[in-house]
Amino acid sequence: MSEQNPVSRGDAWLAALASNAPRLPGYPPSIQIADIEWSGRAARLIAVVPDVASPLPRARHGEVGLLEGWALARAVHEVIDADRDAPVKRVIIAIVDTPSQAYGRREEAFGIHQALAGAASAYATARLQGHPVIALLVGKAMSGAFLAHGYQANRILALDDAGVQVHAMGKEAAARITLRSVEDLEAFAATVPPMAYDLGNYASLGLLWRTVAVQDAAAPTTEDRATILRHLQEALADIDADPHRDLRGRLDGENRSATRRARELLRAQWQD
């Protein structure tokens, strides 16, 4: 429903949810931002999108690199600063469709880890300051890129679509690093839920607040837009009703019992 051809799923969903809202100037082309009014609340939508002309060649396909990490930090801090004294904090929605962090010499040399920390820190700070932060997974949510853009959200929603994938590393690279064939890796993945690449297994870990079926995950229809806005609305109501601003809502997954056990032990033994 976008006027122009979207460059990626992230861009398509940003266009769909932002309607006619202009994109914020002053950011790298890979960071697309729109401020909207949405059922009486102000919200900032942020997407990382491919910039084929990026001056940094390892960050041209939607990866989160040096510019993206620090620009995300700025985009979020702008909202925090603007609402410092506001009783109702505006909503921040991270639209997630990132194939990976950028892998390159320039990136390591100039401290891409620090750039990604800038972004993660900004989102975490926004959440602690009372901004409802929602991540909407519309494509890949991989590794360091997801840590920088989305994983600090109060609630994570994912489109129920095979193109939505959360993982620490792509299949081929993961197989090489763990000295296995891709076939072995896939066989293991089928029996080890945290290693699996599909959304169903990921959901069993308890990290998603909700998965949402849509008609077209790559090119959202008018109906899809309405569906997602309704679920975002419910996520927002859930956050508003929650006295906690931390990530405890992620700890209840059926395949996360060892996490709960470790935390219970620590708590039982904590006091001197």
Partner: protein, 284 residues
């Protein structure tokens, strides 16, 4: 440094995780939590043919640092490359949250994290990644109240999602042996080719990501010898200092400007250590 000093020096790098944690806490105050006899092992490793370890490669110890309440989290680089799985990750994030809770209840618990890690344990992929996000959240919460001090001593270094955790710390201590980077050299070489990143070229790797360079360009705060007494003293001073209102991860205006200048003038050139020092500013 004369020979007598060298001989009397105790190496910190050569210590295992538990001994490192002991060395940083005041004598007699070390108390390990969720330790090797609590039966907490990874539920995922055995079915993949990897022998699990009783502490899952992470030591959590409470104690005191210069008399102040503290928790030390030490990652054991010798177990699975210091990789973070579900249990080890939950131990770190859980301890950080309890320390923050202490502070909200008037107990000024501070934290030290000893990083020796390649990042996510790929055999527990998504639970490693999720727990690292929770570690990030824990650091950002706790550092508002008390310092969270990171130490990268070597020899594994600090990579992956845990390099982001190191970058979130109130202050970071490194040695010459330390390396700090988002992506491990072998992964970059595989993804981008040997011309981009030669993982076997040690001088090249250390030149860009080693402790000395990270300290010189301001991405680490203290550069120490491999000397247990010195590491202890430096960590104690940082852990008992007032909290910094603007940790490095909040300095986005500064870093955006540095990166923008590099991009405008030199993006077509691959950087060397001297070029990075020019753009990020070299420490006196």
């Amino acid at each position: 440094m004369n020979r007598a000093t060298l001989l009397s020096r105790e190496s910190f790098v050569e210590l295992g995780a538990r001994a490192r944690a002991q060395a940083l806490l005041d004598p007699g105050t070390f108390r390990e939590l969720a330790g090797p006899f609590d039966g907490l092992t990874s539920p995922w490793l055995a079915r993949q043919g990897v022998v699990p370890q009783g502490d899952d490669g992470v030591i959590v110890a409470k104690g005191r640092i210069d008399g102040q309440p503290a928790v030390v989290m030490a990652i054991e680089g010798a177990f699975q490359g210091g990789s973070l799985g579900e249990v080890g990750g939950a131990k770190i994030s859980g301890a950080l949250e309890l320390a923050a809770e202490d502070n909200r209840n008037g107990i000024p618990t501070r934290a030290v994290i000893l990083f020796e890690t390649g990042g996510v344990r790929l055999q527990e992929a998504n639970l490693g990644l999720a727990s690292i996000a929770e570690i990030h959240a824990g650091i950002v919460d706790l550092r508002r109240y008390q310092p969270v001090i990171g130490v990268i001593a070597g020899q594994v270094g600090c990579f992956g999602g845990m390099s982001i955790a190191a970058a979130l710390c109130s202050a970071l201590v490194v040695t010459r042996e330390a390396r700090l980077g988002l992506n491990g050299p072998a992964v970059i070489e595989q993804e981008a080719g040997i011309a981009e990143y030669d993982s076997r070229d040690r001088p090249f790797i250390w030149g860009l990501t080693g402790g000395e360079q990270r300290f010189a360009i301001g991405l680490a705060d203290r550069f120490v010898e491999d000397d247990t007494a010195q590491v202890r003293d430096v960590v104690a001073a940082l852990a008992t200092a007032p909290v910094d209102a603007t940790p490095r991860s909040e300095q986005y205006e500064h870093y955006l400007q540095c990166i923008t200048e590099y991009v405008a003038r030199d993006a077509s050139h691959q950087p060397d250590p001297a070029m990075v020092r020019r753009y990020l500013g070299e420490r006196e």
